[in-house]
């Protein structure tokens, strides 16, 4: 679904660059891209949807080589959720915003568009007439996500989707994305700085450091590799760190429940 073939990219004025990026994301995968600020994460997202073109190598998104495909063509197959929804939302009401997306991408009849908009508004429990500019950050993010999903994309790209959201809003959005990923087999590619979110939702983690891939593994494995964590300046989820510090039978625990289970077994003398 997304493929980077030995990609090299550098901005004309210097700044972040990407070197020898090579990976493939299959349909239905939930991938998190992690790394320090300036590692090249946002650049990688822009390469995926063709806003930036690689200097060397190829980026293939939903079957299109971004080098020779119009961004609007790629946009028909990808949904992009930006970190700041204020840059994305340009219509006054929720319904107008979703219709704006539908009008841009799909050759559908007016009735079909209405039906699709209603369906997505209901799925997100949004008020179609609500003023988008007077919404809370979480509601705006939800509207932007609904708008990105209105065209039923095959790939969903999320750029730090939980920044500035409280726990309730954050889990609501991430639960919805995970549900779509599982039920509709949508490929999710997410940049995230919150390792708890990465641990809870992602199936695979790509770690970047200074424009280079330092690892590509499951979250459970990556958060136990001290050298990778050091290189990419990552802080593992607290529970993984605790399990690591406790060592022994706790070493492989990834949740409080698993630690509790080991403790129970130890008490019963099973371990």
């Amino acid at each position: 679904m997304i493929e980077f073939k030995n990609v090299y990219f550098q901005y004309p004025h210097g700044g972040a660059s990407l070197k020898n990026i090579d990976f493939k994301v299959e349909k239905g995968e939930f991938v998190a891209l992690v790394g320090e600020n300036g590692a090249g994460k946002s650049t990688m997202l822009k390469l995926i949807n063709g806003i930036l073109k690689p200097i060397n190598g190829d980026v293939v998104t939903a079957g299109f080589n971004t080098k020779n495909t119009k961004i609007s063509q790629i946009a028909k197959h990808t949904g992009f959720l930006f970190q700041n929804p204020d840059r994305q939302i340009c219509c006054q009401s929720v319904k107008e915003e979703i219709m704006f997306s539908l009008n841009l991408l799909n050759d559908m009849t007016a009735e079909e568009k209405e039906e699709r908009a209603e369906k997505i508004i209901n799925a997100f429990s949004l008020n179609p007439d609500e003023n988008t500019f007077a919404m809370s950050r979480g509601e705006k993010q939800k509207t932007a996500l609904a708008s990105a999903l209105a065209s039923e994309p095959e790939v969903l790209i999320l750029d730090e989707p939980t920044t500035g959201l409280d726990y309730r809003e954050c889990t609501a959005i991430m639960d919805f994305v995970k549900k779509l990923n599982k039920e509709k087999n949508i490929t999710v590619f997410m940049v995230c700085h919150d390792m708890e979110i990465v641990m809870d939702y992602a199936d695979r983690v790509i770690a970047l450091a200074q424009g280079e891939m330092v690892d590509d593994d499951t979250p459970e494995n990556i958060f136990r590799k001290k050298d990778v964590l050091k290189k990419a300046y990552l802080l593992p989820p607290q529970i993984t760190e605790l399990a690591s510090l406790l060592g022994g039978e706790f070493e492989n625990c990834d949740s409080a429940e698993e630690i509790l289970e080991v403790l129970k077994k130890q008490r019963k003398g099973e371990l």
């Binding site: 119009k70 609007s72 840059r87 997306s101």
Partner: protein
């Protein structure tokens, strides 16, 4: 790379001048551009502007700004040529008066606008506002307002770029060659730009107040902006240049 109107570091003669001197130089060139009626002199003013840009060590930026103005000037030139009917017909309905007037207008526009923009790129905004307060005795809140307005131009340009990028990712085709179609696509973007601008202005105002904006007096700034010999010489030269321009 910084935006075209952002401050460019350097150690040129213009970088080291008093900010007020730079304002006076820019205003003198503006006066000369609007006062002069000679086509060659007006072209000379544009050339002088570019030389100032090169001497200031901002050659790349200077030409980038110049190119931007050339695009606007072409549009203005065509518009002017189309509407002036007096004089001898040169080609179809285009008259010699129309061409001369159009040329003067665009040269005046470039001659007056270029020094103002170059002055902004070789002066730190903080120095500009502090010098206005210290040297010209402008009340700080007015100096701050002027410099903030200037400082926010590149911020808004960057914000518009980010909005265009976000909308492009949604599938909006800004690369269409049809100017009207592009305008139709850009117009809805004014809403998010306006919203983010108002928010930014509001948070800046709150932030300034929290940092004691109203406690600031003329004596609050520690940096002094004395006039050196080079400043006085430049002021005399450019005032003479403005007078010469009016007489031309």
């Amino acid at each position: 790379m910084t935006g075209v109107l952002d401050y460019s570091k350097g150690n040129s003669i213009f970088h080291n001048m008093n900010p007020v001197t730079k304002i006076i130089i820019a205003l003198c060139i503006c006066v000369a551009a609007f006062g002069a009626d000679n086509l060659l002199f007006l072209a000379g003013i544009v050339a002088l502007d570019l030389i100032i840009g090169i001497i200031s060590g901002i050659k790349e930026k200077a030409f980038s700004i110049f190119k931007g103005f050339v695009k606007i000037s072409v549009f203005l030139f065509v518009l002017q040529v189309l509407f002036v009917r007096s004089g001898n017909t040169v080609f179809l309905f285009v008259t010699d008066d129309g061409i001369i007037l159009a040329a003067k207008i665009v040269l005046r526009l470039m001659g007056a606008a270029l020094p103002l923009t170059y002055m902004l790129t070789v002066t730190k905004v903080s120095d500009l506002s502090n010098a206005l307060v210290k040297v010209c005795h402008v009340p700080y809140k007015y100096a701050f307002t002027i410099t903030t307005a200037v400082r926010f131009i590149p911020v808004f340009i960057n914000e518009l770029d980010a909005i265009i990028e976000a909308q492009t990712a949604r599938g909006v085709e800004f690369d269409t060659k049809n100017a009207f179609a592009r305008l139709k696509l850009i117009l809805p973007l004014c809403v998010p730009l306006l919203m983010t601008s108002v928010k930014k202005a509001d948070s800046s105002a709150v932030s300034a107040e929290l940092r004691g904006f109203y406690l600031r007096k003329q004596s609050s700034g520690y940096k002094e902006y004395p006039f050196k010999a080079a400043d006085i010489l430049a002021i005399i030269l450019f005032i003479a240049f403005a007078v010469f321009g009016i007489l031309m």
